[in-house]
């Protein structure tokens, strides 16, 4: 079986930075990623897209080239289009274009990033509705821009995608924003945090200015959202300031924040805690990113939402921590190199309380109305979850057995937090007490052929078998 000192899952900013740091300290690193090119979602296809569309995507995107460039190192093996389907201890199984493989390493770093927070509302499963991140990925990877988009939700990414579409020559039709002016007033109580992150605020103000100058309409404080259409989306319905609106829309882009992708850390059995400000679960890790299991580390948005720069810093910090554990760096050297990274991370994180308060998730999508589909795969409504709760179903795993919510192909990635939220509301308990779906390998659908390909005919256990 092939081995590596460190296997990293995910070639976003955290994974790439950790790879560079660990390889620089002398470790052999295997970097596995699902995409054809490194970058993760935030720097998706950055090497090509920065050259072709750098002006549209902006400098916060093109700076990702420094990270992809650093992967060109003799001790880093980057495997593209590698889909990891099992992480058991430090054994990782994946399928790459040339077949299924298993690798054993001393350390594994989970850097699988974030998912967009599901935004269940009437009509959100209709064709023509996708996440704002999905539209941005189409722009980055394929040079395809959505025309006449209606962006719905809240948060800085909503503005960024709107501005990028505008620069691509496709001004959005409107922004329907769910945060209120009151949210911004509350957020300003974190003014110290806001001041420390003034660069972000300045950039935010510049984006709003660009949209205003282009005449893009913003509806702030929208409520009672519903996406209308029969075979595909046709309109966005909402109320705003006492008025009812119905905007025609061919493409609706949803976004109200991102949440850690915890499939791998959950499958490993790491402890997770409820982060109330982020409205999500995060794995419990020490400041280097080490979990409560030997050799299992986490970094980046998957370890708690901080954005691309925090992810990069966390990746470097974890890389140093792992190099020290492997004996490649003394404790003093690790600490000396990590000190500026740790303080830079603290500064970057200080804006978060302000952002989380200014752009909270759309409340009606956290505990959707009965008729709204919560589990997209198995088509289970919020009402079905509530009925299961009334019948005595105590937690998410029972709700899964009662309703099939979370049993579909996405394995609960998009309904997990909704099911937890609905049960917490029904039982009047904290989401942290309710808990979350159990995750098990395979983390993605895998064929029997891929599993069988891992079979080593020279393995003595196989030869001793009854059919050997």
């Amino acid at each position: 079986m092939p081995r590596a000192d460190l296997t990293i899952i995910g070639a976003g900013p955290a994974g790439m930075a950790a790879a560079a740091e660990a390889a620089g300290a002398g470790l052999n690193v295997l970097l596995l990623d699902e995409q054809p090119t490194p970058g993760g979602q935030v720097y998706r296809n950055v090497d090509e897209a920065a050259a072709r569309r750098g002006k549209i995507l902006g400098r916060d995107f093109t700076r990702g080239r420094a990270l992809t460039g650093a992967l060109n190192h003799p001790r880093i093996t980057h495997v593209a289009q590698a889909s990891v389907w099992s992480v058991e201890g430090t054994n990782v199984a994946y399928t790459a274009p040339d077949g299924a493989r298993e690798v054993v390493s001393d350390h594994v770093l989970i850097a699988t990033g974030a998912l967009e927070r599901a935004m269940p509302m009437p009509g959100w499963t209709l064709p023509g509705v996708m996440t704002a991140g999905a539209a941005q990925i189409m722009l980055k990877q394929s040079g395809i821009a959505v025309r006449e988009a209606v962006l719905v939700g809240s948060g800085p990414l909503l503005y960024l995608v709107a501005v990028q579409l505008l620069r691509a020559g496709c001004p959005p039709r409107a922004l329907v924003e769910t945060q209120t002016r009151g949210d911004m007033r509350h957020a300003l109580t974190h003014w110290r945090a806001a001041l420390r992150g003034w660069r972000y605020l300045q950039r935010g103000a510049a984006m709003l200015n660009e949209l205003r100058n282009a005449g893009v309409r913003r509806h702030v404080g929208a409520r009672d959202l519903a996406l209308l259409g029969s075979r595909r989306v046709e309109a966005v319905h909402f109320s705003c300031g006492g008025d009812l609106h119905e905007l025609p829309a061919e493409t609706v882009l949803l976004h109200h924040g991102v949440v850690p992708n915890v499939q791998a850390t959950r499958a490993l059995g790491l402890a997770h805690r409820w982060a109330p400000r982020q409205h999500a679960f995060v794995p419990v890790l020490d400041r280097w990113g080490l979990g409560a299991q030997p050799g299992i580390w986490g970094a980046g948005d998957g370890a708690g939402i901080g954005g691309a720069r925090v992810a990069e810093l966390s990746g470097r910090i974890a890389g140093l921590g792992i190099a020290h554990e492997m004996g490649a760096l003394s404790e003093a050297e690790r600490d000396r190199r990590a000190a500026p990274l740790l303080s830079a991370r603290a500064v970057e994180m200080s804006i978060r309380p302000f952002l989380d308060r200014a752009f909270p998730p759309y409340a009606a999508a956290l505990v959707p109305a009965d008729a709204v589909t919560v589990c997209r795969c198995e088509e289970v409504s919020a009402g079905e979850i509530r009925r299961a709760a009334e019948q005595g179903c105590a937690g998410p795993n029972q709700a899964k057995a009662f309703t099939r919510a979370g049993m579909g192909r996405c394995q609960g990635r998009f309904c997990g937090l909704s099911v937890t939220g609905i049960l917490a509301e029904m039982q009047g308990r904290d989401p942290g007490e309710i808990g979350y779906f159990r995750a098990r390998p395979p983390l993605r659908p895998v064929t029997l052929g891929e599993v069988a390909a891992l079979h080593d005919p020279d393995d003595p256990l196989v030869q001793a078998g009854p059919h050997g």
């Binding site: 990925i137 394929s142 061919e250 493409t251």
Partner: protein, 104 residues
Amino acid sequence: MKPDLRFELLDKDAPRVTVRFAGQAYDVPEGANLAAALLAAGVDAFRQTAHRGVGRAPFCMMGACFDCLVEVDGVSRQACLMQVAPGLDIRPARQLREGPYAAR
């Protein structure tokens, strides 16, 4: 709005190849993300859901939601994790209307 006007292709000079989806031919940019290319070519529904039988199209474009599931060479694949190659013969993912779905 006509389906092919919902998206703007910025790289207009990209070489194009023909792929088939549900039996129909589409000219799409070679090497492009398959899900993005089919959307921009006007494909509305990539599959029908198992329970309610309604259409679905790519939602997350990052391999997480499985709404872009299609069938290529008898294997179900996520279109958003594939690239356009000449001659691809793509079918909507097959529905399963037995087992747990029959009871619901």
